[in-house]
Every structure is written in C-alpha cells, then in structure tokens.
C-alpha cells in the first residue's frame, strides 16, 4: 500500500516538476503571466507531494512496516522512535528523498519570498531549482526507489549501524544537507542572471544571505561531524581526510572563497566571471562529492554499494558543468569587469590572494582524494597519498589564510598607504611577536608550531585591535558607554563585525587544531587490577572490569581511578559495546573534557576473565578550542545575517530614551 502510494507520489512529483520547468521557461519567453503563476503553483504542489512522500516513508519507518526494503534495512522494532525517524537518512535511498525534500522546500521558500519581485530573474531561478529536483526525483523513480518492496517480509529489520544510533545522527547529516541544498539557491540565481542577461550585481545582492546561511550549515555540519567523531569513535581524532570528509570540505572551500570575492564585485564591479565560476564550482563539488561517496568508486569505509547511482550522478554533474560553463561562455562578452586593480598592497589583492589560497587548498584536496584513481589510470599502479600529504600541504596554506584573515579586513581599499599599514598592523605584529616570545618561554620549541602561533596571534591581534579602536572611537564621539558603543557597532555594521567574529572563531579553531596535533600524547598499556599507567601529569589506575545489560547491547567497562599530580581526579569508565548481530564490539569512549586539555581513555582490549585490560590513554591539549571556535563562528554568522529590522527593534527596546 505505502509502496504503491509512495512510488506513485514520486512519479507524480516528477511530472509536476517537469511541468514547472516548462511553464517557467515558456512563460518567461512569451511573457505570459498566467503561465508563470501556474509554474509557481507547480513549485508549491511539488513541495507538498515530496512532503507526502517523506511522510509516507517516515510512517513506514516509525510503524516498522518491513514490507518496504528500505525500512527493513534501516530500522528495527526495538529502536527508539527518534532513531526510527533518523533511519530516513540512514542510507542512500532515504538520503536522496531527504535531499530532494529540502531542495523542494528551498524552492518553495524562494518562490514564496520573491513572489512579486525580480520578475526577470525568478522564472529562470524556478526553472533551475526545479531542474535540480527533476534529477533527484528521476534518481528515485528510475534508480534508487525508497519505496521498493521486499519479499518475503522479514520478521524484524536490521536496524541502523549501532554507531549511528546516537543523538548526533539527528543533527550532523541534516546540517550538511541543509548546507548542500542551500548552495543551490545562489547557483540558481547565477544561472538565471546568465540566462536572462541581467548580469549586474542583482543576483549577488539577493542571494547574499542565502549563501552565508548555507555556508553556516555546511560549516556547522563539518564541525559537528568532527566533534561527533572525536567523542564517540575512540581513535582520539576528529578528521581523517577520508574521502567523505573531503567531499564536504571541498565545496566549503570554494563557498568560502565565493563569500569573499562577492565583496569585490559589489565594491569594484570586478571578478564577475570568477564569481560565476566559484558558485558553479561550489554546487558542482556538492554533486561531485555525493558521486564520490555514494558510487563506491574510492572504496572508502563510508561508501555505499555500487549501482546505477554513480553513473546518474556523473551524468548530472557533466550536465551541470556543460550547462553553466556554456552559459558563461555565451555571455562572456557582457561579463567584462569595469573596475581595475590599483595596487598590489590593497584589500582587493588580499581578497584575491585569499581566493587563490582557498581554491588552491580545494585543488590539493581534490588531487589527494582522487590520487589513487589518477595513478591507476595514468600509470597502472595503485598509489595513494594519505594523511601526511594532506597535513603537509594544508598546513602552510592554512597559515597563509590565517595571515590574510588578519590583513584582509583592515587594509585599505584601492591602495594602502604606509600610514594605513602602520596604524593597522604595527600593534598586532608587536603583539604577535610578544605572544610568540611568551610561548617560547613556556616551552614551545617546534619551529612550525612557533610560526603557526605567530600567524594566529597576528590575526587575533588585528581583530581584537580593530574592535577595540572602533569601540573606543565610537564611545568617545557619541558619549556611549564602552559596552553600548560595542553593541551599536555590531548592530550598525553587522556584516563587517559579524565577519570579524567569524574570523576570530576560525583562528581560535586553528589554534586548537595546531596545538592538539603537535602536542598530542598517547600511551597504551595492558594493566592487571590495581596497576597504573602514567601519562603526562596523570596516573590512571585500573580497578577491574564490570559489565551490564543495556536495552540494546551489553556494555563491558573498565573502572579507572584517575589522579592528577597525585591528587584524585575522578573516575573514568571507558568500555566496549557488544550488540547482538554485530560481530565486533564498538568503543565507548570516556574522557575529561577541559578547556586546556582533554584526558581521553579507551578500553581497547580485555581478558574475558576480567583480570586484565588494555587501556589506551591520550592527552589532547586545547582540542576543545576547535569546538569553541565553531561556536564563535556560529555567533558571528548570526550577527552578520540577522535581519536589520529585527535588530533595530531590539536596539530601540534596549535604549528607550533615544527612541
């Protein structure tokens, strides 16, 4: 019943979507307002149909209707309802349906928001967004049907992989998908600008907020993924340069470049083609990343079984690239920039360099990810480059980015005078040198770490000085208190100061990444009851094993008494989870998370008689700075994108005497 209804809904939505594309293009070509209105309605109907489809699949998941193959594969009776719901994005078919639903949602939001505005652009925006949906619907209709039946109907489903039955599973994938889908909006507007020939900065201005919000979701998804991996997977790290991770990182890099280069076009009317290329690349990399991870082509741990999906994604990717670059070439004579770069020492060049570095990192990640394929195709040998390659290449480039984060926002437009340079950068530079001297005295001797600290302190200094100077100037001229001046500053130039806060968050995170990777300590030892292992200033005593039954698994854990510098520091209980039907156990990490360092312990092996256990202990210094940096980025983006009107109201309420 649900299978038939669901399949029918998908086909119906496909028909409606095709109609929406045709009506939008036809209406725009012939200037028929009724066709355009009908296309807008079709967009909304499409959204309702996909919502119905997703509701049907969720209903099947929650009620454990194992006649659907997808439900039988990704759900089990014993699971909590929230994990039954999360089964929707537990594997390929459901993920595609979720993606398509978000795609339909964003299209509906765009149509609802710009109903009567941007009349020349909107029909083509609709056509492009619906065109993307056509691909996903066709994928489900002819490739991976989430409503496929299974026979005989199994008595119980397999359930999610136990690693996925955690609350994080409800957040991380959704954030990523929201980011991925979000970037289709600026892409659609860019294509609409090319098709309609309205090549001014209009499309950039409209999509600015969409882009930043999409960027926020993608950034949040990436950070959250790292945090999840760190807390639960038990290898003490958060990022492994796995193809799946790279797949989300590459569009993030080009998207970040896009957010910056947009500002040059707004200000200087330059880089028009470059911006179109960046937004196209970002969207294409989203599709490419999905192809990479879902086709199984790289044989990654995350990869799904092969099927027609890979070929369909590759075909769609080729179509997107041909279509968008064809359009750019077609309009190339009208895309000549009007401005000129004046001086190498200017904000424009800093932004240009930032773009070059970001796209450069993206290229190196791309190369490293595809290296095994390239080597096999070109030389017939299987060669891969692992984590050392990525760390080595991204380290210096990341530091260059950090330096630019300090320089870019402060250096003058056009041509920076010596005076401007001295005023903005002398103090941060002195502060950075002083900071490096301080960490040297504290015992940091590693040259790379010292260089990294120099870059980070410089960027931090530049941002903090900018806030301090601007706040003081404002307080002096208006007579407001320092806090009041600071808040009005944030409200008045939200984009600028929101952006600076984001930079602050990125630098904080990079400090965390650098320090935790250079100064990480790890020790593994087998202990009998009563024995201790020493790591850093900690001593970890093994007080025996225990086991207990949990609703879905058996947990075996080690009781560890920890002391720091001889003083008791609490108990830790790392364990292993044994699931029925899973042949290997899953780690259950325990740790003390502190702002300056984490003590992280894993039970890596134990004797069945409970007499001895192998404990792996790690000290990860300043790793929490990464997550704190992530939160600062979130706050910065919120400051940057909150609607003006609402902020103005808040400001009025807080200072009634001025209203």
């Amino acid at each position: 019943m649900i299978s038939t209804l669901g399949g029918f809904t998908i086909f119906l939505a496909l028909g409606v979507t095709l109609y929406a594309v045709a009506a939008a293009i036809g209406g725009a070509r012939t200037n028929r307002e009724d066709w355009l209105a009908s296309s807008r309605n079709a967009v909304l109907v499409h959204f309702c149909l996909v919502t119905l489809a997703i509701f049907l699949l969720e209903y099947a998941l929650v009620t454990s209707d194992f006649s659907l193959r997808y439900v039988a594969n990704n759900s089990t009776r014993g699971s909590l309802t929230r994990y039954k719901i999360a089964g929707l994005w537990g594997s390929l078919e459901g993920s595609i349906l979720l993606w398509e639903w978000l795609q339909a949602l964003f299209a509906a939001l765009v149509v609802a928001r710009y109903n009567d505005r941007h009349r020349e652009l909107m029909p083509y925006v609709q056509a492009v967004l619906q065109g993307i949906s056509v691909f996903f619907l066709a994928l489900m209709a002819f490739g991976v049907n989430p409503f496929a039946r299974v026979f005989p109907i199994p008595p119980d489903g397999r359930g999610l992989n136990p690693l996925l039955e955690v609350t994080d599973m409800l957040i991380h994938p959704l954030l990523l998908y929201l980011g991925y889908v979000g970037f289709s909006v600026p892409f659609a507007f860019a294509m609409a600008a090319l098709i309609s020939g309205r090549l001014s900065e209009e499309w950039l201005t409209i999509t600015r907020r969409w882009t930043v919000v999409a960027w926020l979701f993608l950034t949040g998804g990436i950070f959250y993924g790292g945090w999840w991996s760190y807390r639960t997977l038990g290898w003490g790290g958060y990022w492994a340069w796995d193809p799946v991770e790279n797949a989300s990182f590459m569009p993030w890099l080009t998207g970040t470049a896009f957010i910056h280069s947009v500002m040059i076009q707004e200000r200087k009317r330059m880089l028009k083609v470059w911006n179109l290329i960046l937004v196209t690349l970002t969207f294409s990399l989203v599709i490419f990343g999905t192809f990479l991870t879902r086709s199984g082509i790289l044989g990654s741990v995350h990869a799904f079984a092969d099927g027609p999906v890979g070929a369909m994604f590759l075909g769609f990717l080729a179509l997107v690239l041909l279509f968008s670059f064809g359009l750019i070439a077609y309009r190339s004579d009208r895309l000549k920039g009007r401005g000129e770069l004046d001086s190498v020492v200017s904000r424009e060049s800093a932004f240009l360099l930032n773009n070059l570095v970001l796209v450069g990192i993206c290229f190196t990640v791309f190369l490293g990810t595809l290296f095994p394929l390239l080597a096999e195709a070109l030389r017939g040998t299987k060669i891969s480059v692992g984590t050392p390659y990525f760390n080595r290449v991204s380290g210096p480039l990341g530091m260059a980015l950090v330096l630019l984060m300090g320089i870019g926002p402060l250096i003058a437009w056009g041509r920076a005078s010596l005076d401007n340079l001295r005023r903005n950068f002398l103090k941060p530079l002195l502060a950075a040198v002083a900071g490096v001297a301080l960490v040297y005295v504290l015992g940091v001797r590693d040259t790379q770490a010292l260089l990294a600290f120099l870059c980070c302190f410089f960027a931090l200094g530049a941002i903090v000085f900018e806030f301090a100077v601007a706040t003081r100037t404002r307080a002096r001229t208006t007579g407001e208190s320092l806090l009041g001046a600071f808040l009005t500053l944030l409200l008045r130039s939200r984009r600028r100061y929101g952006g600076l806060i984001v930079h602050l968050g990125v630098v904080v995170a990079i400090i965390g990444i650098a320090v935790s990777s250079v100064y990480k300590v790890e020790h593994e030892q087998t202990l009998k009851a009563g024995e201790s292992l020493g790591i850093g200033r900690y001593s970890v005593r093994f007080d025996g094993l225990a086991a207990g039954e949990r609703p879905t698994h058996i947990l075996v854990w080690a009781n560890l008494a920890v002391s720091k510098d001889g003083a008791p520091f609490g108990e830790l209980t790392p364990g292993q989870r044994f699931y029925p039907n899973q042949q290997t156990p899953f780690a259950s990490v325990d740790a003390r998370y502190r702002w300056n360092e984490d003590l992280y312990v894993v039970l890596s092996a134990f004797e069945r008689d409970g007499k001895s256990a192998t404990i792996k202990a790690m000290i990860n210094p300043m790793i929490s700075w990464i997550w704190i940096g992530g939160v600062i980025i979130l706050l910065g983006v919120i400051v940057a994108v909150l609607p003006e009107r609402r902020l103005a109201m808040l400001a009025l309420r807080s200072r009634p005497q001025e209203a």
């Binding site: 990869a303 450069g360 080595r392 207990g548």
Partner: protein, 151 residues
Amino acid sequence: MKGGRVKFLVGGLIVAAALAGLVYSGVRDSMVYFYTPSELAEKRDQVAGKALRVGGMVVNGSIQWDPQALLLSFQLTDGQHAVAVRHRGTAPDLFKEGAGAVVEGTWNPEGYLRSSTIMAKHSEEYKPPTHPETLESKKAVFKSILKEEKK
C-alpha cells in the same frame, strides 16, 4: 594600468608555483604503494623500507594478541598468498577474522609486514548471520564479569 596587470600576473604565478611545489613535494614524500599479498610476494625484495599498503582478508584463526607486549599478529590473504603482519597496539573497531583489512606499514626483510596503521574495511552490504546471536548468547560470554550495576 598595464604595469599593474603584470604585477598581479607575476604575483599569481608565484603563488601558483609555490602551490605546485608544495603539492609535488607532498605527493613525493607521502606516496604509498598499494599491493595485494600476491604482488607483495613477488616484489618483496624491492620494497624493503618503503611505505606500502597491503589489502586482503584476515585469515581465520591467524589473529594472535599478546597483551603484555601489545603485539598483534595476523595474516592477510588474497586467496593465493598470505602475508604475515605485526602490529604494535590494538586493532580498530570492525577488525575481525574473515573480514577485509588494509594495513599500512613497511616490509621487514625478516619476513613480515611491520604495520603502522590498520584500516578495517566493512561493507554496508549486509549479510544476515546464519545463526543470529541474541543478547542472551552475548550475555553468556561475559558471565564472569557481568554485574548488575548502573554505570
């Protein structure tokens, strides 16, 4: 403005060249060759000391674990040849006999692969176990340490 253009072009080229150099040296120093156990058997004289990856199946019954020395030894096979692996430390989740694994390390001329990293491969393709284990049967295994206490 011609002069300005040239300056930017030169700057861009310098950045691009630096990038290319970085990538080149990065690739050169971290290239890892991938072999099957058979290929390794053939080339074992040429690869001593080089970083390589070997992928295969963990031979049933071959896993030995010395908890005091933290030494894990096992054999990887591709059906034709088996290669002995020694790894200091414990194996990752999902590593088990009869399942796929990729080992990164160097070939020791004494006749074994000295592993630095083990990557367990698991396929999303699910195979139903012939005798499904239940929570009860798992419980029996841990009888000696099973206590009903709350964590």
